[in-house]
């Protein structure tokens, strides 16, 4: 099949999305299913067919999601209802929208590496290990292998304990 000339192609828009919490392993296919499920659950199959959402690329904590021009608002609302990626709790934070992927790449900031200076903390009488540290924000998990759920704290929370 011959490729359509540019004037006959669909106009697309691309959303730059950050996946929280930082460091979550992103499987593009799983994310696509999660986004598709959110879109069709919220707007129905008819509108999902108009939006034509697709996960274009995942780089670090950032993901580029494509949609048809004029449906960015619907896609953005649907993205705010994505709460899980398989069994991992996530949140998708929309950073920007653009007509080209290239301009979105400029806005992808590599997150600062975790500061491993104080890897162990005490909070609420329990020992925690830091999994991510960015400025005042510290994500920790309980020491040991039984409880691996993340706690979202700040450096000040540690100092008070």
């Amino acid at each position: 099949m011959a490729v359509r000339p540019p004037t006959l192609r669909d106009k697309r828009r691309y959303l730059l999305v950050r996946v929280d919490p930082p460091g979550t392993p992103i499987d593009q296919k799983e994310l696509y299913y999660a986004v598709s499920d959110a879109v069709s659950s919220l707007w129905g199959d008819a509108v999902a067919g108009v939006i034509v959402q697709a996960v274009i690329c995942a780089e670090g904590d950032y993901v580029v999601i494509r949609c048809r021009r004029g449906t960015e608002r619907e896609l953005a609302i649907a993205l705010s209802t994505v709460t899980r990626l398989r069994d991992t709790k996530i949140a998708l934070r929309i950073i920007s929208a653009s007509g080209t992927i290239e301009s979105l790449r400029d806005r992808m900031k590599p997150l600062p590496p975790s500061q491993g200076a104080v890897p162990e903390y005490r909070f609420g009488g329990k020992e925690y290990v830091s999994v991510h540290c960015d400025g005042q924000k510290v994500d920790v998990i309980e020491k040991g292998f039984k409880n691996t759920s993340r706690l979202f704290l700040t450096t000040e929370d540690m100092e008070t304990e």
């Binding site: 659950s41 953005a76 705010s80 929309i94 609420g124 706690l151 979202f152 700040t154 000040e156 929370d157």
Partner: protein, 213 residues
């Protein structure tokens, strides 16, 4: 006007500390939060107000718990019940917010309660967590109930508040995302702004009817 998330549940009810909630809320565009079972404080630019949530209680318990509140910054909210209970709660001075309308009976919040809520400046809460995390019939029912509530709101103009009921910072949503979610309920931007400022409106001291010059 302070943009407020009217309900978050910090540690130990959730997995995020109240300071972390405040940090994230500031980044997402909020000025204040109502946090359950947490003392009032200000972290950075974000004011955190203590939230008292009275649920599964009779009218006597509500009165007793409201009388015990001694912090003027505390935001008192009560979970909705049947029509008689809701009228009693809305008519009682000291209650600021009526929550959980979408889980109450269909006619638990009628035009009489709506009029009383407007007269007594008691807000009705819109729980966004059921729009965010629920799917299928649960979300459809919530949308239906809130659309019905908004019909009464436009007629009687009682205050509204918006809550994410976030137990984690991952459950918080940006102000723009909240505006988007509220369009599903038929709210436009001025309605959303008014609802986000609802906590400030119901907790502010009422203007005196007579002004001494």
């Amino acid at each position: 006007m302070k943009i407020t998330d009217a309900a978050v549940c910090p540690y130990p009810n959730g997995d995020s500390s109240v300071r972390r909630f405040a940090l994230e809320a500031a980044a997402l565009g909020f000025d204040s939060l109502v946090a359950f079972d947490t003392p009032s404080a200000t972290y950075g630019d974000v004011e955190v107000r203590r939230g008292l949530f009275i649920q599964n209680a009779g009218m006597k318990d509500v009165i007793a718990q409201v009388k015990r509140v001694n912090d003027p910054l505390t935001v008192v909210s009560v979970k909705a019940g049947d029509a008689g209970f809701n009228r009693g709660v809305v008519g009682y001075r000291g209650v600021h917010i009526l929550r959980g309308i979408h889980t109450a009976e269909k006619n638990a919040f009628d035009h009489v309660t709506a009029k009383m809520a407007a007269d007594n400046r008691v807000a009705v809460d819109i729980d966004l967590s059921c729009l965010i995390s629920a799917r299928g019939i649960a979300r459809q029912k919530a949308v239906q109930r809130y659309r019905d509530l908004l019909v009464l709101e436009q007629r009687f103009e009682f205050p509204l508040t918006l809550s994410t009921y976030a137990r984690s910072v991952l459950d918080l949503r940006a102000v723009r995302e909240i505006s988007g979610l509220c369009t599903i309920l038929g709210m436009d931007l001025p309605d959303v702004e008014k609802a986000l400022a609802g906590v400030g409106a119901v907790t502010a001291l009422p203007e005196p009817a007579v002004k001494v010059v």
